[in-house]
């Protein structure tokens, strides 16, 4: 008798040939909004269609990410917006929503299930939205995190950051360096809510939120929306749209359950696949858009996505300059730390910015000769760690 073999076969990831991402849309953020998430998503959708030169009825695929659209989900929005897609997705993965929406939409287009997939993320921020989102975030959070000081993500990431600092010798100055560089990038990005220059000294002396997290480690919750369009390369060309190519993507959920504390994200498990599929090396990319809620997570991403080895994040940060004119342009629009975190749209921010950088249409400082970009997403701190991780290697139009 043959021994039953593991059902897992060696995976061969197929490329995304013939699929492009285009029409980056950002609806300018607001600290607080009296409008609903539907309003924000609708605006982004409208701008996306206009930017693509399409009509509403041409949209036959829709992907939605939002924390505050409840009680609706994507299905309710079809009637709300008067669209009749033949492919519909709801991607509630927070900071990993952008890349995850992209890779699902890309496969749908590639398979012919849809021609034009509008990917939209938007959230509103009423005065009490943030607290309500925190208190209802997940069952584990409700049972086992929120009752402990109700510090929300700040407290959870404080614990992760503290442990990372203890383990690898990261210092607050290292986190601060990333924040300061992002602020510099944001100063010229028109939609950024944070418009004041930030010095390392200001970063260091900012008021503590949940040690070691201080004010400038935290994103500012706000209202806003981001969107992009996924379609076939030839369709984009016929619409005269600059289509960014998708070289590789990965996603992973609930990785490394055996780690007592989150010291790495799911990227570490799939990073080899990512670069192999893209047929490029980390050193080849011209800029990196990490999910930057909080800087410690950006540092983990440098490690887990292959820019340095585990534990070398602090040294990596000390050795590089992260502004758009530096040797490692990072979060080129300022990231959520300076632009603001518009809920699930925060998970789109880096991707939309990458589309602009790769098509030479940066709203802020254009990274010189940007040919390749890495976009990374991270989200859903369900209990003690972020569960979702994703990354995509994108290339400028041929």
């Amino acid at each position: 008798m043959m021994e039953k073999s593991s059902p897992r076969a060696a995976s061969t990831r197929q490329g995304y040939d013939g699929v492009v991402v285009c029409v980056p849309v950002s609806i300018p953020y607001r600290r607080y909004s009296t409008n609903s998430a539907h309003w924000w998503i609708g605006r982004a959708l409208r701008e996306l269609i206009a930017g693509a030169g399409l009509r509403l009825k041409d949209i036959d695929g829709l992907s939605v990410s939002s924390f505050t659209v409840g009680p609706d989900t994507a299905i309710g929005l079809t009637q709300h917006f008067g669209v009749s897609p033949r492919w519909l997705d709801h991607v509630p993965f927070g900071g990993a929503s952008g890349v995850m929406a992209l890779r699902r939409a890309a496969r749908a287009v590639q398979a012919g299930d849809a021609d034009f997939v509008a990917c939209v993320a938007g959230d509103t921020n009423h005065v009490d939205t943030f607290r309500k989102t925190l208190s209802n975030f997940s069952r584990f959070a409700q049972d086992a995190v929120y009752p402990y000081g109700a510090g929300g993500a700040n407290a959870s990431f404080a614990l992760i950051a503290k442990n990372y600092m203890n383990s690898y010798g990261a210092r607050r100055e290292d986190f601060g360096k990333l924040c300061v560089a992002q602020r510099a990038n944001a100063l010229v990005y028109p939609h950024a809510l944070m418009k004041k220059p930030l010095t390392l000294d200001e970063y260091m002396t900012a008021r503590p939120i949940a040690d070691p997290i201080h004010l400038y480690d935290c994103v500012m919750p706000c209202a806003g929306a981001e969107a992009f369009l996924v379609c076939r390369e030839d369709a984009a060309r016929s619409l005269n749209l600059a289509g960014v190519r998708v070289l590789a993507t990965i996603e992973r959920h609930n990785a490394f359950q055996g780690d007592d504390m989150q010291i790495r994200g799911g990227w570490a498990r799939d990073v080899d696949d990512l670069w192999a599929m893209a047929s490029v090396a980390p050193a080849d990319v011209d800029f990196v858009e990490t999910y930057d809620d909080y800087p410690v997570i950006s540092m983990m991403q440098f490690e887990d996505l292959g820019f340095c080895r585990k534990g070398e994040g602090p040294d990596f940060v000390r050795a590089h300059r992260f502004t758009n004119d530096g040797d490692f342009p990072h979060n080129t629009s300022g990231g959520q730390l300076s632009v603001g975190q518009a809920g699930a749209a925060g998970g789109y921010l880096g991707l939309v910015e990458a589309l602009r950088q790769l098509t030479g249409k940066a709203l802020g400082t254009q990274v010189a000769d940007a040919r390749l970009g890495l976009v990374s997403g991270f989200g859903m701190i369900n209990y003690d760690r972020g569960l979702a991780s994703a990354a995509a290697v994108l290339a400028r139009p041929q």
């Binding site: 208190s135 402990y148 000081g149 407290a155 614990l159 939120i209 949940a210 070691p212 007592d260 504390m261």
Partner: protein, 413 residues
């Protein structure tokens, strides 16, 4: 090292009393398993019945084998504090009023990582032991204590927030005429209560122990008769705002069943004193205490019900008393829900027969009034909600868990 609590200064009579706010209390139904343990001061987590994995946060399927059989069991509460933070900004009013607030992650020896409140004497990288407590909204929370007791550790603000420690509090003993009330007054005085109000009904009627109880420095005798609405209301009007803990020691134990051995007059007296007496206390003092649930370090904290364990299942030898105690138990659950918004705990202390005159003919084991008083103080210090004092109470509780019907029959033999 915990800074010992200083005796609180007199309250500024012109200052507004801070109203209670609630820590976040929603929990999944499964997580209420922790509530049951916290109420009794046990430390339980789910343990998979099939693969023995210890599971936390509470789940409905084992993350190792997907078994749905995840009973809560007592487990070793020891572990290491891996990472800590001090929350200074929070979205909940309750914590906002109490920051800085330390929380941390503890790696338990039995497996899970636990997000937990931290006692001030815990430190990162050191061994700790977790305890499950009920917070001011009655929801279960974890607290990490230092591995070994430290001096004055009960005075830690995060711990004291979860307990009803009598230290520096003002206690009302509702009936000081009986042995239990007198033992309770002594115990409260010894536990550091600043005032022990002792209610005496019918002050014209002498009672044994009168002189001894008056000799306790902290004791202040007050007229109180739980069968008399005016008397209860008057005490509440005069002293309600300076009573932080009520221990209801009123008793009316008479042997006899429902068919015979108990007159309706006697049954009514029992009901009047025990059930309606509890209601009078609740109506007179409940609203005041609920409002004072966040009134500084000596905020109103608890109402203690001394209940017969036969409230849980009737013992026909004391059939009427058992029934009345059951009514009191039921009322206490309502009271608990009603006082929860103020963070006031309702502590039910169950005991079997006491070493008092009304259980005179019963054989041992019986609970001495002093032992009952000690158990009450411990319950308050630990912030418990359900306490079973003595062998009989423990026995009844255990048998109820196994086979309530069998217990009913056996008690009726």
């Amino acid at each position: 090292m915990t800074t010992p609590l200083a005796r609180p200064k007199r309250k500024n009579p012109l200052a507004r009393t801070r109203l209670p706010s609630a820590p976040p209390s929603p929990r999944s139904r499964t997580a209420q398993g922790l509530t049951a343990a916290a109420a009794e001061g046990r430390f339980t987590l789910q343990v998979c019945a099939e693969c023995q994995t210890v599971v936390y946060p509470p789940r409905d399927a084992c993350p190792s084998c997907l078994s749905p059989r995840l009973p809560f069991k007592d487990v070793d509460p020891c572990g290491m504090l891996v990472s800590e933070t001090t929350v200074r900004v929070t979205s909940e009013t309750y914590f906002r009023e109490r920051v800085p607030w330390r929380v941390g992650m503890v790696k338990l020896d039995v497996g899970p990582m636990v997000v937990t409140h931290l006692h001030g004497d815990t430190c990162e990288g050191a061994r700790v032991r977790l305890v499950l407590k009920l917070d001011r909204r009655g929801a279960p929370v974890m607290l990490a204590l230092p591995e070994q007791d430290t001096p004055d550790m009960a005075d830690d603000p995060e711990l004291r927030e979860l307990t009803c420690d009598p230290k520096f509090r003002r206690v009302l003993i509702t009936d000081g005429r009986n042995a239990v009330g007198q033992a309770m007054a002594r115990a409260c005085a010894e536990a550091g209560a600043t005032i022990v109000f002792v209610g005496i009904a019918d002050q014209w009627r002498p009672f044994p122990g009168d002189a001894a109880i008056k000799a306790i420095a902290q004791v202040e005798i007050v007229p109180l008769d739980l069968t008399d609405t005016d008397s209860v209301n008057e005490l509440a009007a005069q002293n309600g705002a300076r009573i932080d803990i009520i221990i209801n020691t009123a008793e009316h134990v008479r042997a006899g069943g429902v068919t015979e051995g108990t007159s309706l007059t006697s049954a009514r007296e029992t009901m009047e004193l025990r059930y309606l007496g509890l209601m009078r206390l609740a109506q007179a003092f409940g609203p005041i205490m609920r409002m004072r649930g966040a009134d500084g370090v000596i905020a109103a904290a608890a109402i203690v019900n001394l209940l017969s364990v036969y409230a849980l299942t009737n013992w026909p030898v004391y059939g009427v008393v058992s029934a009345v105690e059951a009514a009191c138990l039921s009322a206490s659950q309502s009271l608990r829900a009603e006082l929860r918004p103020g963070g006031i705990k309702v502590v039910n202390v169950f005991s079997g027969p006491l070493e008092t005159e009304w259980y005179q003919t019963l054989p041992p084991p019986k609970v001495a009034p002093a032992a009952l008083a000690k158990a009450v103080i411990e319950a308050l210090r630990h912030g418990l909600e359900e306490v079973y004092v003595g062998d009989v109470a423990q026995d009844i509780r255990a048998r109820l868990e196994v086979n309530p019907k069998a217990l009913e029959r056996e008690l009726g033999e």
